[in-house]
Structures are given as structure tokens and as C-alpha cells.
């Protein structure tokens, strides 16, 4: 009986000791705790301010819109006619 109690006690101490030795992952760049953000090509609720010339929800259309906007808005060496 005493031997069993001793064994149980030892097992408990070992279990607690191993728990204490464990640690949570501390590596950098863990999963972000931020809420999920909607992609910009899905558009916003303020439709009055949405630029025309692209289709809301179409990622490719949105990317092309930004590329075209960057060209006619920022590239003054290569004048591009505003679509």
C-alpha cells in the first residue's frame, strides 16, 4: 500500500515537473491575433467614392485599375490617356 502511494506520489511529481519544463512556442512571427480583413478588391460600402473603371469583386480588374492609375497619375515621362 505504501509502495503504491509512493509510486503515485512519484508519478505526480514527475508529471508536474514535466509540465513545468514545457513551454509555449516563443518563435517570432506567430499567427496574427488580428481580425480577418476583407481584400480591397471586394470594395467598400461607400460606393459613392468608388472609382469607376473596375469591377468590384474582381481582383484582376482591381489590380489593372491601380496599375493604370499609377501610370496616368504618376508617370509623367510617358503620358497615358486617362481611361
Amino acid at each position: 500500500m505504501i509502495a503504491r502511494l509512493c509510486m503515485g506520489f512519484v508519478a505526480l511529481v514527475v508529471a508536474l515537473g514535466l509540465t513545468g519544463c514545457g513551454e509555449r512556442p516563443q518563435s517570432l512571427g506567430g499567427p496574427s491575433a488580428a481580425k480577418r480583413d476583407a481584400a480591397p478588391h471586394t470594395g467598400g460600402s461607400a460606393s459613392a467614392f468608388t472609382q469607376s473603371g473596375w469591377k468590384v469583386g474582381d481582383a484582376n480588374s482591381w489590380a489593372q485599375q491601380l496599375k493604370a492609375r499609377a501610370q496616368y497619375g504618376q508617370n509623367d515621362h510617358q503620358r497615358v490617356v486617362k481611361p
Binding site: 496574427s32 480583413d37 480591397p40 492609375r69
Partner: protein, 215 residues
């Protein structure tokens, strides 16, 4: 997929602070917080250079690495954003950032830092696109409206370029070829690790041996 980048052309920036004003107006940024600012080197001397600085949305962002609550995230477009509902205002990101981008509102008793605020590349934050909550916390979401950041679009000399990295790099490259000088894009190598911008690749072989080492 577009990868959003900023480039400031030091040959063109005239320190007008139009980008700073445009940013503050567009997002109604509170007093004391400057998401963007213009830095001038050798101010008042012949050959002075100015650059407009904000968050560079780094490829390997140190702010993300040091944040103890992981409030940062990177969008598919390469924009580094954060969740103000998770931020605890500790300021670690401020110390880690090589560009001084993270800002802290000074309002509140005893100089409480408050939630961190920084440039969002006009991409808002983790609230519904274009919603009132997003505007209150992060400002306008121009990307969701099919527009580019207000600072770059307002730049009178087009010194500040923003948009898809391939597009803005092509625009700057064309300029440099045309004028025959001024290829330095300060901050580009630090933010994106480009060897072309003079940033060495961090490989073990490239790290010099410490003094006194036997190897």
C-alpha cells in the same frame, strides 16, 4: 497580384509637405500624430535632399517580429496593417521600426500612449471596408475604392510614388535613365532587402567575423 510599395524620389522632393497634409486631411489624423513626414538632410546647405517617410510596409517587418500580442498582419497586397483592438500600446514596434513609422497619440492622463497609429497605405484596417468603424480607427480605405494612397496622388512633383512595386520601380527607372543620375532610393533596401539599392544580402558568409574569434 499587386505588391504595394512606396518610393520617394529624392531628386524631385521639394519639401512642400503636401503629402503630410494630404495624409492628415484624408484620414483626419489627430493632433500630434504624423503618419507621414518629410525629412531633409543637410537642410539649408547647397545640395540638400528631402524624402517623404512613412511606414514602408517592409517585406520582413521588424514591427511584426517584436509585437508581443501579434496585432500585425500582412495583406495579400503586401501592406502591413495592425488591429487596434489587439494593440496594447507597449511601443516595442516604435523602437524596432527603422523609419519611425509607429505613432502614439499623447492624449490621456499621465502621458498614456494609447493605441499605435501608422500609415495604412490607405488600406484601412480589419473592419468592414469603407465602414464608419474603419474610418474612426484607421482612416479612409482608398484601395477598396480603386485608388492609390492620397499622399502619392497629391504629390505635386510626383516625387512620392506608390502602387504596385513593378509599376513604381519602372517609373523611377525610366526617370533615372532620362536624367542620367539619381538612382538612390533611400529606404528601399532597408524595407525590401534589395541588393540593387545597396543592401547586402544577410547570409552567414557575409557576416564579418567578430574580433578575437579564432576562425
Amino acid at each position: 497580384m499587386a505588391r504595394m510599395k512606396f518610393i520617394c524620389d529624392a531628386e524631385r522632393c521639394i519639401e512642400c509637405n503636401g503629402c503630410v497634409t494630404a495624409c492628415k486631411n484624408e484620414h483626419e489624423v489627430p493632433w500630434g500624430v504624423n503618419r507621414r513626414r518629410v525629412v531633409t538632410l543637410n537642410d539649408g546647405l547647397p545640395g540638400e535632399k528631402s524624402i517623404s517617410v512613412a511606414c514602408m510596409h517592409c517585406s520582413d517587418a521588424p514591427c511584426m517580429a517584436v509585437c508581443p500580442v501579434n496585432c500585425f498582419y500582412r495583406t495579400d497586397e503586401g501592406v502591413v496593417l495592425h488591429d487596434k483592438d489587439v494593440c496594447i500600446g507597449c511601443g516595442y514596434c516604435s523602437y524596432a521600426c527603422p523609419f519611425g513609422a509607429p505613432q502614439f497619440p499623447g492624449q490621456g492622463a499621465f502621458g498614456v500612449r494609447g493605441k499605435m497609429d501608422k500609415c495604412t497605405f490607405c488600406a484601412g484596417g480589419p473592419e468592414a471596408n469603407g465602414s464608419e468603424a474603419e474610418f474612426e480607427k484607421y482612416g479612409r480605405n482608398r484601395l477598396a475604392e480603386g485608388k492609390l494612397p492620397a499622399c502619392a496622388e497629391m504629390c505635386s512633383t510626383k516625387a512620392l510614388l506608390a502602387g504596385d512595386g513593378d509599376v513604381v520601380a519602372d517609373i523611377l527607372r525610366n526617370r533615372v535613365v532620362q536624367r542620367g543620375k539619381g538612382a538612390e532610393v533611400w529606404g528601399w533596401g532597408t524595407a525590401y532587402g534589395s541588393r540593387q539599392a545597396g543592401q547586402p544580402v544577410a547570409t552567414p558568409a557575409a557576416v564579418p567575423a567578430k574580433e578575437g574569434s579564432t576562425s
